[in-house]
Symmetry: C6
Subunit: 273 residues, 6 copies
């Protein structure tokens, strides 16, 4: 009857495949062990929701600097759950919504989730959903109160829900009272050593030869960036870039085939300015 | 004619059994004498409202840290009263309500309660009903003013009302003027010694053998947590966890059968970080 | 033709007996000479309004700590006036009203009062009517401006009006500009010495024998509370409790017949904590 | 054709006799030379508006402490002008008006005034029209902007307008930018010496014999109040009371025929507390 | 076809002669060379707009203390342009308008101006249009944003527009971001030396004989006011009065024929108090 | 089928030629190498969007002081792209729009852009779109949140979008959280050395002979302005003027043929005052 339930929910709602795929368009590059750790932790929570009777609701937060890959990782965990109900709540689909319309849209997805025996809801980009602005500071209290309740409200008897939220402003969440509501938090770090960076460059085939790539890496080392995580911990290196921004720089550099390495190094150094 | 009144109110309103049961889903674990004290005090107020002619209205506040069990205890006291009218006012059922709709909904339940000779209303999670935000600070003054009046307004002649409110932000209540309105306050403490914690672990059967459980307790003692309340008072131990959060950690730990003790201890230590 | 006017106003409005009685449900206990002084002063103003042609409008303020008996005393003075028009404006009957609705309701009662040759309007609990909140601070400026005008606006020719307002936040009234508008102010003090307290205990028959009551009083004296007003003025004693709260404590204590004195003393000591 | 114009305006508008009389109900007592000065200055402006072609608009401000007689004096000057259009704009007739309704009502009266060759508009109690509150501070900017424009806008060709405004919060007017808009300002002082006070007591016949009155005056002198304006200027005496409040105290004292002097002195001393 | 265009616009809009004349009712008195300089500069801008193809939009600001004659001078420049479209945007005609109505009205006039080949729009009294209040400070951001755009938006191809704005709060314009938007600024000074003042007195024929006038001037010199601009620059004299206020004082003084000089001197000295 | 797509979009939307031309009315004067650099960088981004599959969305910011030519340069880059969809979002066409209308209009253009395979949207004058005011500070959070989402939201599969935003308040963008959203930033500098200025003067043919122009330049050098960029870097010269303002000054100077040089020099010196 699990499958039956699955059938039952399909017509009105279900899994939003396309939306999820859109946010992982460039795939997941395993440039560091931490990426696998995050995906594995996600899987454990998926299992807990499926099996424990005492915790029909589990909510986690993926947080990290802008462009570090939170959305892509959250969507990947959700997709891998294979639950019958998987939905993405994203500010992208709420442009121009009034406070009230946002609250209604969010509430609707949670209400829908309660109709499936097993559901996962990805609530992407909390600060944007909350319309956070540092000046004031200001935000939508209506959306905040809605999230505070929905993240803690038990689904009805027999239903189970896994909530994955993302944010790049972790300290703001504490300030506004959203800091204690999650069962667990996972940090998504930026790329901070050259080994990880090199892994990405290789993966996206920026250079025609590994010779060229190595030359580029050497330039970065000379510029003083740390090579490995251990170096970073020893205080070396000022590299700190989200994988999303790195991919953007790679594409810019690609525009000047004769100057790829110089442009990339220049852009990375520009960050530190 | 008491029974008759009871019959009379049933159709339109009455006791919301399901809602109350939902919030006590995991039962009440008697991990400490204080739990029994709270339930007994509750019973005394129930008796007072039933018998004293001079106090047809009694209101109390259950306060304590997040997840300490306020809602479950409040609902338990209400359920045990066996009054003909028992209702739960909770933000869970008001998601997306405007200020005005909240005020109307709250007012409606109090108005309904006046139709029964004996009523108990549990007003759960005051800070969420008030849409409290520390930044600003901001909250719904309309809801606040409504509660200030309703918590102090005598029921009509011949009617009696017992109000049980809960909050995890006691100091905020004072700040906004809700501090003086209650006839009495009961504090719901977090679990703060290992004996209480062990009691819970036993009750939920986290370990297959008492041997394993004891090993886990030993690890916690080594980590420096206080064993008994007396130890706590002597300044030892930094344990401070709501029973709700503890139950959540227990279920997470259960996911890794080979590592239960380590995960639980890790999670408990993580709190102090 | 005075009686005729009285008849004339009856249909549409008049004296709201029930409302007034409701707020004096527990009667007036004459635990101190000051209570009689207040009632006598009230009577003098009632006479002035009836007789002086130069002051067709007189407004007074009853102020004092929460639960000191302001509402009951104000209602008593109004009731004793035997004017043909006596109305109570109270936040109790305005739950859920918008600012505009409050202003309309208040304005309506004053307009009605102008139809009677002699009227008294009790405006109870100014801070609640104003929706005052210390945080911000915030309040309804629309209600404030309405009261500022109504408390000072002369009734039409041939009509006379006595306004009795109550508040437990006297300093706030000054802050917001409501401090100068009254012709006179009467302070309603809390119970601050054991003699007054004993008077109340006797009146409400908390103890079965005067022996028991005296024993209780002795315990309070030992606890350091002042016996008489003179003691209080000499700096002794920390008793300071509104008669309303005292009556509530008395009823709680009554629930444990074996422990009445201990519970009462404990509750009174709890205040000072 | 002046008379003809006068006839012309009567039906739709004109002189609001009743309203003006209502605010001077207790007459003008000439307790000090300054009262006559104010009335004479008023008359001069009345003449200027009537005769000068370069100043078809003149606006003045009567300011002074609460109850000093501003409204009564402003109304007296207006009444004495014998212009065909005389109107009172007062918060008394705007209770419950929204900001917009106030602006419309005020604007309407000015628009009406432009239909008469000669008009005087008394704008009473600016702070109340502006809904001023010291906390915030807050006020109706819509009303303020309306007054700022109307007080400076020239009437159409051939029309002349005299504006008399009153306020007891002169410094607030400066703060909000209403300080420079008037062509002239007249200060209405409180009663500050015993001679003026005695003049009033005599006028209102508080005492049955001049003997009693003199005895009362002696008591006040003994209490340290200054006798004449010269004394005041030399730093003596703390008397400072509006004639309106004095008249109110007189009527209260009258209620206790046996104690008239004591009560009056007590009330006057109470001011200084 | 220039004349044709002129004809074309007449029906729906065109030159608002009456409005312009109304604000120059008392004419322009050439009491100082600066007055001619301002008028000449205005004429130069009028020529530039007519002839230069690169600057189809020119905007200037006339600023100076209250009553210094900004509106009259702005209107004079506009009138002298003899453009086919000349309009005055003034708060006088927007009393009681909502923010939105103001924006619409202002926008409408600019839109109309784009239909004429050559237009001049006088935007009078910016601070009042903006509903500026120093407390807060507050103003209509909707009006501000509208003006910021309209003052900088190029008219459509083939159309030319000259904008003349006036304000007596130059520093406020900078604060709110309106300081940089103008192509040029002209300061309209107050009268600050006796020679200019004497010129005005002569022009308005306050005195019956030049003898009397000279006597009055002597009194002012004795009072310490500076005689000429050079004196002013050397630090003498505290005269500082707008021509508008001076004209008002002149008319007041005229009311007491026997005392003209004394009253005028008194009024002028009163300014410095 | 690229051309076909182009055809397809024409009817409902497409390239807004006229609007773009309007903002470049005075052409681009190549007074400095930096101008060419900016245009070349723009072209590189145009190519990247057209060719890279990993970056279907690229957004850049043109920032610099008022009048430095941001809008003209942004429009030039857009025009040169020859994409089938080119639109300008400008506050000029949103005067009088409510917050909601602005959000809808902006959202609409982005939604339209998604229908074309290749699009460029110029979002001109961010601070005005945001209704930014330094006092408060205040701005439209609804517009800000809309831009934050739209500048980062990937177009649907197969669509590519290039966003060019302009602002003269770069620091404000950081303050309100719009600082990190762009893939790249280009600074548009003011004219800061005499060589560039001379280039402009020549181009617009202000002087009849190069002799006159040189004389003018000499006067500026004597006034202490720096001749070349190198001088500027060495700390000389205080010239700092946007090309737009310079063109305006040139036209003013042209009005007085006999005094061209003096007026221009005077105006330029006036800036430094
Ligand atoms: N290891 C990785 N983790 C996450 N994303 C990756 C990884 N490798 C490649 N990517 C790609 O990098 C991009 C990450 O962007 P994503 O939007 O997920 O970042 P984000 O942290 O959510 O950014 P923002 O802070 O702007 O919300 C995606 O396009 C994704 O396909
Ligand atoms: N002794 C106990 N007291 C209260 N709850 C208990 C106890 N033992 C077990 N529980 C269970 O623990 C949970 C307590 O959660 P509850 O929602 O009541 O906490 P809370 O303090 O109201 O939390 P919050 O601060 O989030 O409102 C319930 O599931 C309840 O069944
Ligand atoms: N001497 C007394 N004066 C006033 N009330 C008395 C007195 N004796 C007994 N009472 C009873 O005490 C109660 C006083 O409550 P009341 O509501 O009037 O106090 P309050 O000061 O208005 O309280 P609050 O500050 O909450 O408005 C009433 O029930 C009244 O019947
Ligand atoms: N010399 C006087 N000047 C003014 N009023 C007088 C004088 N003598 C007697 N009165 C009476 O005193 C009262 C003055 O009250 P009025 O309302 O004019 O004072 P006010 O200054 O306007 O008060 P508020 O500050 O409350 O507006 C009136 O009833 C008036 O008839
Ligand atoms: N030289 C002058 N310049 C300007 N106005 C003059 C001059 N001589 C006489 N006047 C008269 O003085 C008055 C100036 O008033 P105007 O309203 O123009 O001043 P303003 O500066 O706009 O005042 P406000 O600051 O109140 O807006 C007009 O009546 C005008 O006819
Ligand atoms: N090199 C140049 N770069 C930009 N604009 C130029 C250049 N040379 C001439 N111009 C002209 O200068 C003017 C620049 O004005 P533009 O509106 O683009 O400036 P802006 O920086 O956007 O101003 P604002 O800060 O007011 O928005 C245009 O008329 C343009 O035709
Ligand atoms: Mg993201
Ligand atoms: Mg709870
Ligand atoms: Mg009360
Ligand atoms: Mg008055
Ligand atoms: Mg003006
Ligand atoms: Mg621009």
């Amino acid at each position: 009857d699990f499958e039956c339930a699955l059938e039952e929910v399909k017509p009105a709602f279900g899994v939003s495949e396309e939306e999820l795929e859109a946010v992982i368009q460039n795939g997941i590059i395993h440039f560091d062990g931490i990426i696998d750790d995050i995906l594995r932790s996600g899987q454990l929570f998926v299992d807990q929701v499926r099996s424990s009777t005492r915790t029909p609701l589990v909510s986690i937060l993926l947080h990290g600097p802008p462009g570090s890959g939170k959305t892509a990782l959250g969507a990947s965990i959700a997709q891998a759950s294979q639950y019958p109900f998987i939905k993405l709540i994203s500010p992208d689909s709420m442009v121009g919504f009034s406070e009230g319309q946002k609250v209604t849209a969010i509430n609707k997805i949670f209400a829908d989730s309660y109709k499936s025996p097993l559901s996962v809801v990805v609530v992407d980009n909390l600060e944007r959903l909350l319309e956070w602005t540092p000046i004031g500071p200001r935000f939508s209290n209506a959306v905040l109160q809605t999230l505070l309740v929905l993240f803690a409200r038990r689904p009805p008897k027999g239903r189970r829900l896994f909530v994955i939220a993302t944010s790049s402003l972790r300290p703001v969440l504490t300030e506004i009272g959203l800091g204690e509501v999650f069962d667990s938090e996972l940090r998504v770090p930026p790329i901070s050593n050259i080994r990880s960076l090199e892994y990405v460059l290789k993966e996206v085939e920026l250079f025609h030869s590994s010779q060229e790539r190595k030359e580029c890496i050497r330039m970065l080392e000379e510029a003083g960036f740390a090579s490995t995580q251990t170096d970073v911990e020893e205080g070396n290196g000022k590299l700190r870039i989200g994988v999303k921004k790195l991919l953007s720089m790679v594409e810019m550099a690609r525009q000047e085939p004769e100057n790829v390495a110089q442009r990339l190094v220049g852009a990375l150094l520009g960050l530190g300015m």
